[in-house]
Each structure stands twice: as C-alpha cells, then as structure tokens.
C-alpha cells in the first residue's frame, strides 16, 4: 500500500506544483530587489538583465528607522529576541514544572490564569501598560521592551512547558529525590535537560513573535535607537513609498536571518514541535 509506485510519484509532482504559489512571491521579491534602477519599468515576472546588489547595499547603509540604520536595528532585534527567549526559558520552565507536578485546585486555577492570559489581546491593556512603564522610567529602553515581551509571551511558554511536563514520567525525578536532591537540584539536574524538545519549541515560537512583532516595539521604543527590524522596515516603507526594490531589500534584511536559521534548525524544531504537541 505504501510502496513508492506510479501513483505516489504523481502525488509528489502534484505537491511541487502546489508549492509554486508558495515560491512565486519569493521569486518576485528577488527579481525586484536585484533589478537595477535603470531597468525600473520591467515587469517583476522577468528576471533582471544584469542583477545588482545596489538596492541591498543602499537599504543597509541608508538610515532605516529614521534615527537608526538597518544594521543597528538588526543588532537590536537579535539582542532583544535572545534576552526575551532566555528569560522565558529560565522563568517558565520551573513554573511549568511546578504546575504540572502540583495537582491541587489552586495550581489548576493558576494554570487557568495563564491559559486565560494566552488569549488576551494586547490592545486592551497597551495604554495602561505604557503608563506603568513611563512611571517606571522604562519606556524607550531595551530593558523595558524585553520586560514587556517577556510578560506577553510568558503565558504561551508556561502553557507549553506545563503541557509537556504533564506527559513526562516522574520516575527520573523520584530517582534523584531518593538520592537526596532538593527540588531545585532535581529540576536543574534532571527535569530541565529532559524538556529540551519543548524548550526548542518555546524558543522558536516566542523568538519568532518577538522578532516579527511591530506594534509593541513601535509603542515602546518607536522613536529611539532601540528600534527593532519590523519598525525599521515600516518607517522605511513610509519614506520610500514608491520604491519596491528598496522596500523588498529591507524586507530581506528583516526576514533573512530567521529563514536561514530556520533552514538549519528545521528538523530539530519540527521534531520538538511534534513531540511537544503530542505530549
């Protein structure tokens, strides 16, 4: 039934045809980015005569976000994303462990709180939050932005860790406890290494959210040099409204690193994803 016969080869071709609409936009972006200003009128469907990296270069050097260049925005994005993911893994894992292991009514309610926060949109609390951050003098600082992102993504992280840890057999922990290890050592030494798959998923999902988020970054660091890539792209579009080659060059800078990273880590991410979702 599952041998690689004629019918399967036919299906394989079918899927590659279905992949064309997926690839076409990427192709169009590339042909537009590589097209020199002299061939401006050409249709995007035809590859450029003599491709040039001029647009990429100009996008990279030109001041992207008004006060900040793309290279600076890239650094901001990397630092912010890394810090947020680190905080989430270090704080959410133990929380998930506690919630998964304590079966009391209270822990159920606390988990419910995280679940409720999971579907809470940011629009409702953004202004009061902005007020808090101003009073705390954190607006316009990278630390403030990191704190906000960590808070926003904490429910998802705790949710994933709890779900995964509920499926993890307790034998390993009990063995460590029998050897006299205290809860913190049990967690660090035994449990944390075991949750590597879900840590991968948490890092991927929350990292992607922080890297791609536009609105929160705009509100909290919009007019400073701590601006992240999406905001830089947005203001870049604001200024070069009619020049798609430049806009797509900016888009490639913003999306490039993630796609490349994803290309390498794709198998492990997928494995982690499936094992986590499957519990």
């Amino acid at each position: 039934m599952n041998r690689y016969g004629r019918w399967t080869a036919f299906r394989e071709a079918g899927f590659w045809i279905a992949a064309i609409p997926m690839l076409l936009p990427v192709y169009l972006v590339l042909t537009t980015v590589l097209r020199g200003p002299e061939a401006r009128g050409e249709s995007a469907l035809r590859p450029p005569g003599d491709p040039t990296l001029g647009n990429m270069e100009r996008a990279w050097t030109e001041a992207g976000g008004g006060t900040v260049s793309f290279s600076q925005a890239l650094v901001n994005s990397v630092l912010t994303t890394a810090a947020v993911v680190a905080i989430l893994v270090v704080v959410a894992a133990p929380a998930g462990y506690a919630l998964a292991r304590r079966g009391s009514k209270l822990s159920g309610a606390v988990f419910g709180m995280f679940a409720f926060a999971l579907i809470m949109p940011i629009q409702l609390g953004i202004i009061p939050l902005y007020g808090f951050m101003v009073d705390a003098g954190l607006t316009g600082t990278r630390a403030g932005l990191i704190l906000v992102y960590a808070g926003l993504q904490m429910p998802l992280a705790v949710f994933l860790y709890t779900g995964f840890l509920r499926g993890l057999p307790t034998a390993y922990e009990e063995a460590a406890r029998v050897d006299g290890a205290r809860p913190l050592r049990v967690f660090a030494g035994v449990v944390f290494p075991l949750v590597r798959p879900v840590t991968g998923v948490v890092a991927t999902l929350t990292g992607l959210f922080v890297w791609n988020d536009f609105f929160v970054a705009l509100v909290f660091v919009g007019d400073t040099d701590k601006v992240t890539l999406p905001v830089a792209v947005y203001s870049f579009v604001g200024r070069f409204a009619a020049e798609w080659p430049l806009i797509f060059a900016a888009a490639l800078i913003a999306a490039g690193p993630v796609v490349v990273l994803f290309g390498f880590a794709q198998r492990t991410i997928m494995k982690g994803f499936t094992s986590t979702l499957h519990g």
Binding site: P37, G41, A63, G65, G66, T67, G108, A109, V110, F111, G112, M113, A115, F116, L118, I119, I127, P128, Y130, G131, F132, V134, D135, G137, T139, G140, F159, L160, G163, L218, V219, G222, D223, T224, V231, Y234, S235, G238, R239, F240, A241, A242, E243, W244, T276, L277, G279
Partner: protein, 418 residues
C-alpha cells in the same frame, strides 16, 4: 494539550491585584537637556538636525536631542507621550485639527504652552492664525506650508476651466490614458484632496468664513449648496472618466508609477508630495498648476495654508528651554527652509516666494490671497476625513450619491476634538 475550560473562572485571581491607574510622572528631559520630537522626513539631515547643532553652539549649557518617529505614527506617539507625562520639550506636529495629535486637538485640552509673547507671534497672517491658535492664544510656530493643485510633467497642457477639464478627461480616455491618477486605497488618503480642490471654488468662493461657521455648528455639510455642488462635480469627473476604472483600489505607489510612466497625465495633490512623484520618475521634471474648480476664473481658489508647526508641551516644570529653541528656529526659518526645500509658512516681512519653485503657477493666487483654508484643519473629529475619503471611494464605485457622502460626514461631526 488543550485549553482548560476553567480558564474564565480564575479571572478573580488577577482582579485582586488591581494597580493604580496611570498617573502623570516626571517629564523626559533632564535639566540641561532639550528633547525635540519630529517625524522622519526621509532626509539624512533635516533642518531640525541643523538647528539643533546651531542652538547648542549658541547655548553651550543646553544640549538638544532629536527623536524621530515613522511619519504616520508620529502624531499617535506624541499623544501617548503627552498623556503619560513623558512629553518632549519641543514637538513638530500638524497644524489645526484633523488628527489625534495635531496642534488644536492638543491645545484644546490645555496640553500646549501659549507662545503668544514670542517675537514672531505678531506676524501671523489670519489664514494661519486659526490653525495655530484659537484666536486669543498662539500654540505653534508655523513651519511648512502647502498648497493643493494639479501636478503634471512639464509640457502637459493643464486645462484652465472646469468644463475644458471634463473634455480633456474624455479625450484622454479615448487615447487609453487616464487624466487624473487617483489612489482610492485606504492607505493612500488621496480622494479628499480632489474634494478640497473642488470645494475651494464652490464653497469658499461664496462664503470664505464657512469653516468657522461650521465650527460654531451654524451650518452643515449636507445643507451647504457649495459642498453639494463640489461632491456632485466629483461625480461628473468620474462620469467623464477622469479617474479611469480601477481608481477605487489603486495604491499611492501605483498612482506615482502611472504618472511617471505617462499612463496618467495629471494628479491632484498637495505641494509637499513632490518626492513621491519624483521617486517614480527621477528624470522627469514636474510642475504644479491651479486646479480649475470653476469656469469663472475669479471663483477659482487654491486650498493653501500652513501644514506643520513646532509646539511646546505645557509641562509641570517649565517650558522655558522649549520656547527658546522654537524662537531660535523661527529666527533662522528662511535659511532652514532652503535645507528642507520647503516654503516657510510664515513669510518673513521681505515677502519671499509663497510657493515652491516648481509650483510657481500658484504664486499669484497665494500672493493675492485667492486661497481657501485646508479644510480638515477645521474638522475636530479625525473620523471625518476618513468618512469623506470612503464616501468619495463609494461614489467612484457608484455605491453612493453626493447626499449620502455629506450626510455620513455630518453624522460624525463634533465641534471639539475627542
């Protein structure tokens, strides 16, 4: 893995931790530092950057930090900062009403310092006074000015009268071209510009004070014959094929390309948008001409006025440094204007040119005061401009009549800013 049903039951835990509402706190600028918040106008080095350095040279004890926001997020950011007590010392914003962070919208709520005693305050022409103050007080130094007219490549013969314009539209249609490139896409915000150009000659030709009367709720849009005629003429332009078929969905970039490639001959636009057209056709030379709003040349008026202005937020401590910077900028405004390639809204007494070089055709109108105000500067509720834009787009697709457009605008009219 699923979302536990009891999620809602636990909201009680969060309520128990209700914190104090957002109060106002210390302002952003330290003692010797002035924070100037402007929008990013695309130039590496705008006039504000130059002014900041000059000011620091003139006042060694003060340092100036320039913060730049993406253009269409700047007004919202300004309002957020003022609301949360993190206001800058000086801010660039749009004059009059029209959006949530403009001069009058913020001034009406007492958030801007009175600049009445500044040296330049005396020289405010009345066309600008209403947009930067409420008659008794002055809240902003007008920086740039703008005028609305027809932009086209040099050599295009721009029609002189309203009827000749309609025939020009039909001729263009026959050669497969579009007379006026118009972007109906929500983000392009172009249809109301045509509306203003028409209304200048139908409303303000007869009743220059219409704007103030509207503010005092003495008149309405639907009830004004001038507005009725303006919107009806928009319909006539549509029927003459002035805008081509797909105008409703076209983006601003697509209109720029259409004008650049010659598929469209002209566009109705404010003077400040030259970079947009130039970017789409770097080697073409563009000129601007008045929009023939009527057949009788005497009734043709050009919507014009100040566009941006510097304001000083009325902060708890003291607005001194901010005012100093604004006055310093005002003194050298002529020199800074060249840097920006813009026309100062407040012409120094020497009577310099009122319109940028490429819009020389508008100069006589501006000099002789044959102008109408930029209408939305007198529309407190920001939603009004959105209703006008979408109403005109509905007319493009034949789903609305002039009366519907004007009535939907009256429905959201408020005489003070929300």
């Amino acid at each position: 893995m699923n979302i536990r049903g009891r999620a809602l039951g636990c909201a009680a835990v969060a309520v128990a931790l209700l914190a104090a509402a957002a109060g106002c706190g210390a302002d952003a600028g330290g003692d010797g530092e002035i924070v100037v918040s402007v929008w990013d106008d695309g130039r590496e080095e705008s006039s504000i950057d130059v002014a900041a350095r000059d000011f620091e040279k003139a006042h060694p004890d003060l340092t100036v930090t320039v913060q730049k926001n993406p253009f269409d997020q700047h007004l919202q950011a300004l309002r957020r900062q003022l609301g949360a007590g993190r206001a800058p010392d000086v801010a660039m914003t749009v004059v009059g009403y029209g959006e949530s962070g403009t001069v009058r919208a913020l001034a009406d709520k007492g958030l801007l310092a009175d600049l009445g005693e500044s040296p330049w305050a005396g020289r405010l022409p009345d066309t600008v006074a209403g947009a930067v103050g409420d008659g008794s007080e002055v809240y902003a130094f007008p920086v740039d000015s703008m005028a609305i007219g027809i932009v086209a490549k040099k050599g295009t013969d721009v029609p002189g009268t309203y009827t000749s314009m309609l025939t020009a539209c039909r001729d263009a249609g026959r050669d497969g071209k579009t007379a006026f490139a118009l972007g109906g896409h929500e983000n392009s915000k172009m249809p109301h510009i045509v509306g203003f150009a028409l209304a200048a000659s139908t409303v303000y030709a007869d009743d220059p004070g219409y704007g103030d009367k509207r503010l005092r709720d003495e008149v309405t849009f639907a009830g004004s014959d001038g507005w009725e005629q303006a919107v009806a003429r928009f319909g006539e332009m549509r029927d003459a094929g002035c805008f081509g078929e797909n105008a409703a969905g076209t983006t601003r970039e697509a209109t720029a390309r259409a004008l650049g490639d010659g598929d469209a001959l002209m566009a109705v636009t404010p003077t400040v948008t030259l970079p947009l057209w130039q970017a789409a056709a770097p080697d073409a030379e563009f000129v601007m001409a008045p929009f023939p709003g009527d057949d009788d040349p005497d009734r043709v008026l050009v919507p014009a006025g100040a566009s941006s202005g510097l304001v000083v937020p009325a902060k708890a401590s003291d607005a001194g440094p901010g005012k100093q910077f604004v006055d310093f900028y005002a003194k050298h405004r002529a020199r800074y204007a060249e840097i920006d390639g813009a026309v100062p809204a407040l012409p120094d007494d020497g009577g310099g040119p009122r319109a940028p070089g490429y819009a020389a055709a508008l100069e006589p109108y501006l000099r002789d005061g044959r102008t109408a105000p930029i209408m939305d500067q007198q529309w407190p509720n920001p939603e009004l401009i959105a209703r006008f834009d979408s109403g005109l787009v509905e007319m493009l697709t034949g789903r609305a009549e002039p009366a519907d457009v004007l009535e939907s605008m009256d429905a959201v009219w408020t005489s003070e800013a929300p």
